[in-house]
Amino acid sequence: MDLNLVIALGIQIIYGIANLTLISLGLAIIFGMMRVINLAHGEFIMLGGYTVVISTNAGVNIWISMLIVAPVVVGVIGVLVERLLIRWLYGRMIDTLLATWGLSLLLIGLVTSIFGASTATTISPPLGVVSIGDYTSSAYELLLIGITVALCLIIFLTLKLTRLGLIARGTMQNEEMASALGVSTPRIYMLTFGFGAAISGFAGGLLAPVTGVLPTIGVAYIAKSFITVISGGAVILAGTVSASAVLGGVNGIVSFLTGPTIGEVALLFAAILLLRLMPRGITGRFFRKGL
């Protein structure tokens, strides 16, 4: 195996890991702080994609659409959802699951009714390719790796330095505190849900040039992001990143060896095995005091 292939393959695997992290972080934030699994997570990603496509086609600079407009718009939607729906269901975990699933269907239906069931006008990836010897790698994929790292860093600093972060750390380590919080500081929950939604919208916006947008595109993400977050456990960053590394790594290597279908099976089996060994996720056993 020549060196260029190793580098190209390495980049591919790292991109896979970064991609998993990117699509899972929004879900992880909401789960870590509120112990709520948001089944409309995929639709938040979808909405991010639509926001970017629409605003770019309306003449907004594509970078501004992706980096600012998408997270802000979806973040606001997240806050609205929390106020109108989620807050009635605190302490009723299963009902929250069901209600967010209803929301997921509702959003798919709404977007289909407005924009139609087929692909909306797509936008082209704004960067070219980078060549490594005989192999090429998309520059945009490299950029996504960089942005994911930066995003993790921002979340790390937010958790480390701000008051919201302090509360977040408390709830991550103590489940009772998370449930007690719902009563004492509903504002924190509102902000958390909005923040998580914004991150999901951000991810959706960034991925829109790669995947295009469809009302049902959320479905393509949710299975993977659920597995990642559940395997990671309740600690937001350490959990998501470590689970992404394990699952993305397994998926990347097996996909390279046997093709994408078996790669996906391997990802599932890795996740099931992981959960059998650690029912509370990786951070249920390791990095418990992490961020």
Binding site: L89, M93, G102, L103, G109, V219, A223, E264, R276
Partner: protein, 355 residues
């Protein structure tokens, strides 16, 4: 919920079901009967989740996985063996084995309910994306090509003693309805046995059931496997109703539908989710013929409304309302009787005073 119940209501419902089975083909057209067979298959799936979730408390969001596995196993087995009876048996066994492996991991790993919901849902979605990719000629089990996105044509049911005799759609309807009635009576009986009562008690309080000495992991695994068998059988009926099986049986929309049937019909009843499945099936069929309102939109709204406003579901809500009304009537009758007695005695007193 109560575990001491008799079977009277069950038999009444079963008799109504049998009457329906006999009468429906005489009034309905063939197209409606074929449609009805599909609805019955879905009702079977609803019944399986009513048992697993409503009685077992197992939050299985991916019950369609067993439904789809049953449908695929039947189709592949029927293509290879040419005998529907064997294929049905294989389908049910495959669904049970699949559930036992998945269930072993979840219950013996003591995965909590929310995790369980997400894992089962994910399994279903992974099956969806996997089977979608099997369009090439290399994806072949015996003589059966899996066909990827387009799925496989399901061979129709034939008679066990005469493989060349394929059943007509009305006969498939009779078979489907008979299976549904049997499955309904069986599950209603099951939840009244010791096994069923323990399963209900585990839903009520896991720790207490365990402290009484019941191995809750085993009970959960068993009820999960029984549910999978019923769902798998539903899958068999489904691919006979629509004539083929596609990866769409595993998609998110169908998983959501299953949950909605149970929520709308009510957890803790068996007939509720069955009626829920029929109701939603005909609602979505009616909506499907027009294009202004999207099905997803309607289902999403129904789910949210039920979670927020009618969390118990229709059948328990109506039942509670009727019990309350009956209680109130009894109360009223009693009060009236007391009042008349009092008036009578006061009149007597008055008469006595007049003397």
């Amino acid at each position: 919920m109560t575990i001491f119940r008799d079977m009277r209501a069950t038999f009444t419902i079963a008799v109504i079901g049998i009457l329906f089975m006999v009468l429906a083909p005489t009034v309905l057209e063939l197209f409606a009967i074929i449609n009805l067979t599909t609805a019955i298959a879905l009702a079977m799936l609803a019944l399986s989740l009513a048992l697993v979730w409503g009685y077992g408390g197992i939050l299985c969001f991916g019950q369609t996985a067993f439904f789809g596995v049953g449908a695929y196993a039947y189709t592949v087995a029927a293509i290879n063996s040419g005998d529907a009876a064997t294929a049905i048996l294989i389908a049910v066994v495959v669904a049970i084995i699949f559930a036992s492996v998945l269930g072993y991991f979840m219950f013996y790993g003591r995965v909590s309910d929310v995790y369980l919901a997400v894992i089962t849902l994910t399994v279903s979605l992974i099956l969806f994306s996997l089977i979608r990719r099997t369009s090439g000629p290399e994806y072949k089990i015996g003589d059966a090509l899996l066909g990827g996105f387009n799925g496989v044509t399901a061979p129709p049911l034939n008679l066990p003693w005469d493989r060349a005799y394929f059943l007509f759609p009305e006969h498939v309807f009779y078979v489907a309805m008979a299976f549904l009635i049997i499955a309904y009576v069986f599950t209603a009986w099951l939840v009244r046995t010791k096994f069923g009562r323990v399963v209900i008690s585990i839903k009520e309080n896991e720790l207490r059931a365990e402290l009484l000495g019941y191995d809750i992991r085993l009970y959960k695994l068993l009820i999960f496997m029984i549910g999978a068998a019923i769902a798998g059988l539903g899958g068999v009926l489904f691919c006979n109703g629509v004539g083929r099986v596609t990866p769409d049986v595993f998609n998110l929309y169908n998983s959501a539908l299953t949950i909605i049937w149970v929520i709308v019909g009510g957890r803790g009843t068996l007939i509720g989710p069955v009626l829920g499945a029929f109701g939603i099936f005909y609602l979505t069929s009616a909506l499907g013929t027009q294009s202004t309102i999207n099905n997803n939109l309607i289902l999403g709204i129904i789910l949210i409304i039920f979670v927020l406003a009618i969390p118990k579901g229709l059948v328990p809500t109506v039942r509670d309302w009727m019990i309350e009304r009956k209680d109130r009537r009894i109360q009223r009758v009693r009060e009236r009787r007391i009042r008349t007695r009092r008036t009578r005695s006061s009149t007597q007193n008055a008469e006595g005073a007049g003397e």
